[in-house]
């Protein structure tokens, strides 16, 4: 997609995010392997497990589009260079279509 995605070290806590293929809504991978539209429910992964989770997501073309790693803290808060963008995805600050 648009932004240049930062390369994250294996030990850096990360989440897997992308867009639901049918609707285009932003989704995040939960620890149980399902996808959620609520960023607060995202799973936190590191190391080989994270790589495996992303690899599996990349194979779910019909379910999720363009999955990638986003940096988070160990307790699942958005972190790192893309904090602003990812925060906007997770928690929009605009009342879409209404008075702002």
């Amino acid at each position: 997609m648009s932004s240049v995605r930062p390369k994250l070290k294996p030990e850096t806590p990360k989440a897997v995010t992308g867009w639901a293929t049918a609707t285009g809504r932003s989704v995040w991978l939960r620890a149980d392997g399902t996808w959620t539209e609520e960023a607060g429910l995202l799973g936190v992964f590191t190391g080989d497990e994270a790589e495996a989770r992303l690899a599996a997501a990349l194979k779910q073309e019909a379910v999720v589009t363009d999955p990638y790693f986003m940096e988070v803290t160990a307790d699942g808060k958005i972190a790192g260079r893309e904090t602003l963008r990812e925060s906007m995805r997770a928690e929009p600050t605009l009342s879409f279509g209404g008075a702002a």
Partner: protein, 552 residues
């Protein structure tokens, strides 16, 4: 307005069927996103920050009431009840599910609309003066030629995979309301010794490397314009930079070759084209297209209106609206009305389903069924009798569309920014609305007069910040939004690029800084009739820069 013939109808319906199959294969996983992306882009479908976005073409910004009602229906049934009108006179829906898009395109096709060539590296929607066909200062109605260019450029096999996207704008008025000098090709229709022709500008654009277009030919007769466009496109297609996306627009080619060499190559190609392929449009075909744009049969009216005068005397808010939102019509007793989509506190360019339906109703009842979209993200009723203005205003105002701010400081061009856009670095809408609040008093705004503020959320400049009298550019500095201020841009016949005047400001500091600049202007203008941009050009940027950064 133009109506589809059997070729248009067939092309559009076949494209809908084709895309339906592509979407089905994407949803089943048979197509990967990498395979699907170029296909969806050819149909105006982007994947944005929160959802798919569907961009629908509104050729040269003209809509019928039936079409606007259909857009309202789509907003209600497939989106969140609103649509967003864009700087290229199109509309975008921001929440349409991919699985619904084939159905949406089918509904659009029923009213002779589509999303073809609203994305991708092809020739995009040809834009024009939103007062076309009504403006006193135009030499001819430019829409017929926009339509001819649309037909020539739609599915043109040679120009379907250009180095980069390509945008053409046309004006026929001395005062350029179509921003032609910041388009890849800008055409100014002129008349010379009884012949209609085109002054051709090439290589304008904004984005990360803004350029004002070069004048490459002062007069190309109308009978030769398609050949000339072929020559322009062919040189670009051959030598445009395909190795670097950021250098792929025609403005870079013109700049790197130099204007003289670029013109030489175009003229050489043009001569070859005239000698061989030569596009000779039959006069009857040109006349047929022109006939679609015959002026409406306006009833004869007096040049002034007692009803209008009485309503203005009775209602100061209405009187203010008439001073701001009316444009002189070529026929006495009529005016062109700007329906502002910039009420205080609403994302600029957004209209709800019910607002769209209201404008469609008003166009039918009072406006000869004609609606336009302006590149400044407003709607226009180009032909309204002066007698009917009080009723039109009353209805608009009741629906939240009565803002009296056309070309004024709260009538900002604003890109969707990081609230929607996958490319943006910073939010545009909140900072624009914060600035709007400072100037929300209508009397104060009227005193300031014409002043364009344009806001972009990244260097791609979709919010035209380079050509705002005041430009605001959002940047991301280590996760925090900052806003650079530009001064001195303009998009009209004196087109100029604004200059960044200093370090970026935090979002919360932008409104006060803009206020200081405006107050400085008010103290420095020679009279209330001297516009902001004229005072700025008279005094230079330095003094305004000092006002901008003065301690608040």
């Amino acid at each position: 307005m133009y109506r589809y013939d059997q070729f248009d109808a067939r092309l559009v319906s076949e494209r809908v069927a084709q895309f339906r199959g592509q979407v089905e294969r994407r949803l089943s996983g048979a197509l990967t996103e990498d395979e699907f992306k170029p296909l969806r882009l050819q149909n105006g479908v982007y994947l944005q920050l929160h959802a798919y976005m569907l961009r629908i073409a509104i050729p040269y910004g003209q809509l019928s009431p039936r079409q606007l009602r259909r857009l309202a229906e789509i907003a209600r049934d497939y989106d969140r009840g609103f649509g967003h009108f864009t700087t290229r006179q199109n509309i975008q829906f921001n929440w349409v599910a991919l699985q619904d898009i084939p159905e949406v395109l089918e509904k659009l096709a029923e009213v002779e609309m589509h999303a073809i060539q609203t994305s991708g590296n092809c020739i995009r929607n040809t834009t024009t003066d939103h007062f076309a066909g009504a403006a006193q200062d135009e030499v001819v109605d430019p829409r017929a030629w926009c339509e001819i260019i649309r037909q020539w450029s739609t599915f043109h096999p040679e120009f379907a995979f250009l180095p980069r996207k390509f945008k053409i704008a046309v004006t026929a008025a001395e005062h350029d309301r179509a921003a032609i000098r910041v388009h890849d090709v800008g055409l100014h229709i002129r008349q010379q010794d009884g012949v209609t022709g085109f002054e051709v500008h090439v290589g304008g654009g904004q984005g990360r490397t803004p350029h004002i277009a070069a004048l490459v030919n002062p007069f190309v007769p109308e009978t030769q314009i398609l050949d000339y466009l072929e020559a322009i496109m062919r040189v670009y297609n051959r030598y445009g930079r395909r190795d670097n996306k950021y250098k792929a627009r025609i403005k870079i080619l013109v700049s790197e070759l130099g204007e003289a060499e670029y013109i030489r190559q175009v003229e050489e190609e043009f001569a070859a084209q005239r000698a061989s392929e030569k596009i000779d449009l039959p006069a009857a075909e040109v006349a047929r297209i022109h006939a679609y744009f015959a002026p409406p049969a306006l009833a004869t009216k007096a040049a002034s209106s007692k009803q209008l005068d009485a309503a203005k005397a009775a209602d100061p808010a209405f009187a203010r609206w008439t001073r701001a939102n009316l444009h002189p019509h070529k026929v006495a007793g009529y005016a062109s009305v700007t329906v502002s989509l910039k009420p205080i506190g609403v994302a600029p360019g957004d209209a709800t389903d019910t607002q769209m339906e209201l404008v469609a109703d008003l166009a039918e009842k009072y406006g000869y069924g004609d609606i336009r979209v302006s590149h400044a993200q407003n709607l226009i009723l180009p032909h309204v009798a002066l007698d009917d203005l009080p009723e039109v205003y009353k209805a608009l105002d009741a629906a939240g569309l009565g803002a009296a701010n056309e070309s004024r400081i709260t009538d900002m061009i604003v890109c969707p920014g990081l609230d929607y856009c996958n490319l943006a670095n910073a939010r545009s809408i909140p900072v624009a609305l914060a600035v709007q609040k400072v100037f929300a008093d209508p009397a104060y705004e009227e005193d300031i007069g014409k002043l364009h503020i344009n806001v972009s959320g990244c260097i791609n400049a979709c919010g035209h910040h380079h050509v705002g009298h005041i430009g605001i550019l959002g940047v991301d500095k280590k996760g925090e939004e900052f806003y650079q201020i530009l001064l001195g841009g303009r998009a009209d016949e004196k087109a100029a690029l604004g200059e960044i005047v200093g370090p970026g400001l935090k979002a919360e500091d932008v409104p006060a800084a803009i206020h200081r600049v405006v107050e400085f202007y008010r103290t420095q203008r020679t009279s209330p009739s001297e516009k902001f941009i004229d005072t700025l050009e008279r005094l230079g940027h330095q003094t305004f820069q000092e006002a901008l950064y003065a301690a608040g």
